[in-house]
Symmetry: D2
Subunit: 343 residues, 4 copies
Amino acid sequence: MIVVMDPGARKEQIDAVVNRLQKEGFDTHLSTGVSRTIIGIIGDKTRLTGLALEAMPGVEKVVPILQPFKLAGREFKPEDTVVKVTPDVHMGGKQVHVIAGPCAVESEQQLMEVAREVKAAGATLLRGGAFKPRTSPYSFQGLEEEGLKLLAAAREETGLPVVTEVMDVRSIPLVAKYADVLQVGARNMQNFFLLKELGRIDKPVLLKRGPAATIEEWILAAEYIMSEGNYNVILCERGIRTFETYTRNTLDLSAVPAVKRLSHLPVIVDPSHGTGKWHLVAPMAKAALAAGADGLMIETHCRPAEALSDGQQSLTPENFAEMMTELREIAKVLGKEIGGGKQ
Amino acid sequence: MIVVMDPGARKEQIDAVVNRLQKEGFDTHLSTGVSRTIIGIIGDKTRLTGLALEAMPGVEKVVPILQPFKLAGREFKPEDTVVKVTPDVHMGGKQVHVIAGPCAVESEQQLMEVAREVKAAGATLLRGGAFKPRTSPYSFQGLEEEGLKLLAAAREETGLPVVTEVMDVRSIPLVAKYADVLQVGARNMQNFFLLKELGRIDKPVLLKRGPAATIEEWILAAEYIMSEGNYNVILCERGIRTFETYTRNTLDLSAVPAVKRLSHLPVIVDPSHGTGKWHLVAPMAKAALAAGADGLMIETHCRPAEALSDGQQSLTPENFAEMMTELREIAKVLGKEIGGGKQ
Amino acid sequence: MIVVMDPGARKEQIDAVVNRLQKEGFDTHLSTGVSRTIIGIIGDKTRLTGLALEAMPGVEKVVPILQPFKLAGREFKPEDTVVKVTPDVHMGGKQVHVIAGPCAVESEQQLMEVAREVKAAGATLLRGGAFKPRTSPYSFQGLEEEGLKLLAAAREETGLPVVTEVMDVRSIPLVAKYADVLQVGARNMQNFFLLKELGRIDKPVLLKRGPAATIEEWILAAEYIMSEGNYNVILCERGIRTFETYTRNTLDLSAVPAVKRLSHLPVIVDPSHGTGKWHLVAPMAKAALAAGADGLMIETHCRPAEALSDGQQSLTPENFAEMMTELREIAKVLGKEIGGGKQ
Amino acid sequence: MIVVMDPGARKEQIDAVVNRLQKEGFDTHLSTGVSRTIIGIIGDKTRLTGLALEAMPGVEKVVPILQPFKLAGREFKPEDTVVKVTPDVHMGGKQVHVIAGPCAVESEQQLMEVAREVKAAGATLLRGGAFKPRTSPYSFQGLEEEGLKLLAAAREETGLPVVTEVMDVRSIPLVAKYADVLQVGARNMQNFFLLKELGRIDKPVLLKRGPAATIEEWILAAEYIMSEGNYNVILCERGIRTFETYTRNTLDLSAVPAVKRLSHLPVIVDPSHGTGKWHLVAPMAKAALAAGADGLMIETHCRPAEALSDGQQSLTPENFAEMMTELREIAKVLGKEIGGGKQ
């Protein structure tokens, strides 16, 4: 971290900053320029975040230099993390996994039907919401435990491991009982109590990026989970909020290679929420793969027009299968493969 | 709601939409234009949100016409809501209340000292964080119950009712035991389980706007609380996330008169988080008052440079007192008054 | 367009809106719902934009239904436009063209060297700035006509047609004398006098998306050029401005399939400006291709560290050649090819 | 400026950066931390912007320390600039000026009528557009020179100096012939050729903030004008583009005290474009005044519902007069006054 003093900062103000830092155990080095003094700080930078140096008299600004994360950072662990969901499904390596299924679990028939279809087309994980975060309290809120049971039954039949969202600290044990991967939704990305509790379970966590979260804040949210002991975190880009209204969100695919540079964690992409329009899903899924994503999450529904939520962004099984064929071709030239040989 | 069909939509596609709507109990009226057919929908619009009409063949888009909220909306209740925090402190009427205190409760001495100062300068509620949401897991996380006890002690001495944040559903009973107003932080604005639980208590809730939340989504979050029975919701604008980096957030003061038009709930402003720079707090507090805010929330610390969090945006007691003097003058010409006569 | 009246709108207010519309030659149809009246409008909608219906008493809002563009819209012209830059270089068809070269033309040697390199690696157009839009007046502003002459000389030697920016209406004749494609920079996307003048020349125009422009506004800027008679417009996505600061802009690749649905014009992508970091350029170029882009624009410099502008986002010839190899593979599986057979 | 090297940067990479800087005439100071080396740079920082240090091997990032502007900066000139529009109208001092009038000049009657009204209510400058920048080429584009003549005639009658927009470098002489203050519209804030030409005239320039411009870029645009010799620049905040759609833009009132800290130039606010809704104009005008604005720009029309543009955000003369009464009261308690004593 570097402290930039005001052009008119007095010597005693500069001394006060230096003394404060030394009292806290940091080494400092001063550099006196033509118009201003700059104070560099040496020591364990993570301890600095609590000091409100910008509030000290004569300080113009404090400029962070280092990445604020440790466990999630590539500096800390240079090699890629591979999250082992099951013995066959590893996220973060050569295999690119496609997680597919409906936005919400609505009924046994709806789920089983689509689960069979996506399995047949090459999906290697099943998604489906049992607890649904909805902007309006009057929208469908999910089947809750009944939905979890249906997901487990679908896994039983298809062999596909299950990814589902947990919204509430109190229901972590319940969701963990049925799910293979616990998803943190975008709106909960900075629900720190939820993150900490998920750091204490032994199942992988899929952490969606918040709609207003920078890449750095997103990786720091992963750090919350990891700092409690659970290192199996999969990041999921799902679009950020911008002024553009044609799409539901603006899918930030640059975040994929950016995260890969900053962190060792696997990163996947959800073009369904990222675009909000089914006809943009396949092009953006292909783009995500080409940008280096380790996986994709695709909303699929046998009859989108009857879906209880997000029908307008869901693919039909036919569209899904067509997209999978194209993805396989692209994966091949990238030296990757969709799903695993054993599936 | 209005359904706009594709220019090339076929008659059977139009019929299918109409049939679906009629099956769900809605009346429809068709309007056939030069290039497109438009279907208007009559009936209880809140039931429409679950239908994924945009996923039906031939549909170009669905245009919502009505506000999606009920209990929080001014159409539902035209007169202003006044939230009675204590017999003397009413939010939403002629009195403009200033909530002041430190970002985080750090120690008995720190809290008592600043509580006495803000009381003397005219603050009518005390704020202070016992549970702190921090971007990094390595930052100070708050004193927890010890902090709540100190807040209660400060109320005991100063008579100021206490506003403090609750971050976790599990700690609602604990926080409610000590606090007069429970605050939902910006990052939790769409933590729907937390909102629902707060809808079942009998204390006022201060609901901060999320950094990526539209005004409509913010009022819908209040609707979550109200739909469970708690009508005492105070909205708090605290800045949204934009491309501008000079300020921590972009304080959206237009939201104040906008909320007043759409909703009957009181709305206050937090210029400390809204700007992130102490020297912008007083000008923006005055601006918020002039824009029609029912209250202000101001971070204050006796020694900002030693604060464990947010020191750079905290006022000293001297700056706070000076600001209060200016606010009193402006309030007078607006036909309002700062704090209450009985304080 | 649809006019939504206030819940409390009186009959004479509704009549006033209907009368005004009929006076202007529109047919209207009224629909009286439970809480509100809605007025649909039939006729030539483009004439409606001038009427400030929202300012009439009793009007709550006006909801546009149709796309506001004509000549640029796919409804107007369903088949893809192919812009013929030269007999060999057609933008918008099966061939995907890569435009490469330095951000700014700096010297004969610098330009010739990189022009030969990108030609050898498969680029089919040469880019280079002679007039440079710079945020600070103290930054390098370009070689002006001298730069244009160097570009023409580089075309002479390599055969690559030249794309270069025109910033000022007064220099259109000069730039048009040397360039094959005239580029409108992002900051000038709504410089309407410049757009209109470019509508009167007979060379193709490359129109970059403004950093705060919606997809609709971008296509309307193309409409400005087309409405003056020049139909040879190529759209170029180059990132929008968001809160994310890790990248220079947020490259909005969803805009590629979105534009293809709304418009018949070719659309290319500039991942150099879109990301601002050279190490993100190749992944995002591949992603753009997979998303359906008709071309790419890549900043390339033989010694990026010595570049007078944008060095941090420029590829070296080696990185460029490597990226081209990967792009060729992906193009193949997409049924496209990079550059033309004759190159 | 500070250069932060990669954790793994080699000694020869560090030496290369230092050598390059020394060759360019800068002094450097090295600071070797636990994980990284940081290079501080001493010398004339404005010359650094051309060097692409981030493109050099081993460099992680370059962190700017100083403000990039000179003439417009408060460090360069600590006392406030007062722009003298006429002997009676000075912008930037104790008097707060209200610029009022229609969005577009439509006819002699329309302009004269509203000019008399706003003059009577206390406006001290008249605004009106003769050249209109419109998103669609099919919208009303202004009366051009005829409009300028009408503005001059209105000044003749009312004595109000005229503010009007210039969109095209070629029409600067024409606009300067009729106007007292030349306005640069938001979409042209980075039309650098226009800015430079306006730097060579001897009339004040009103520079609107671009919808995607940071405060720093806005002041740099003023620097473009000033660097050519015209120091009479008035800044105008008019809202930035964000995800919020209830308002046309998000009026960033924090920019007022922020600009006052960074620059000595006067800054005014346009709540009409900033909000896009007439019922938000008066509250935000009052807020802007309280935040410290040196003036206001208010769209006013005698019959907003018949306005050829922006009717929905225009005040009627009655609303305008009522707002002026409130502004006068607030100005008084702020130690300022609306308009001038002689008006």
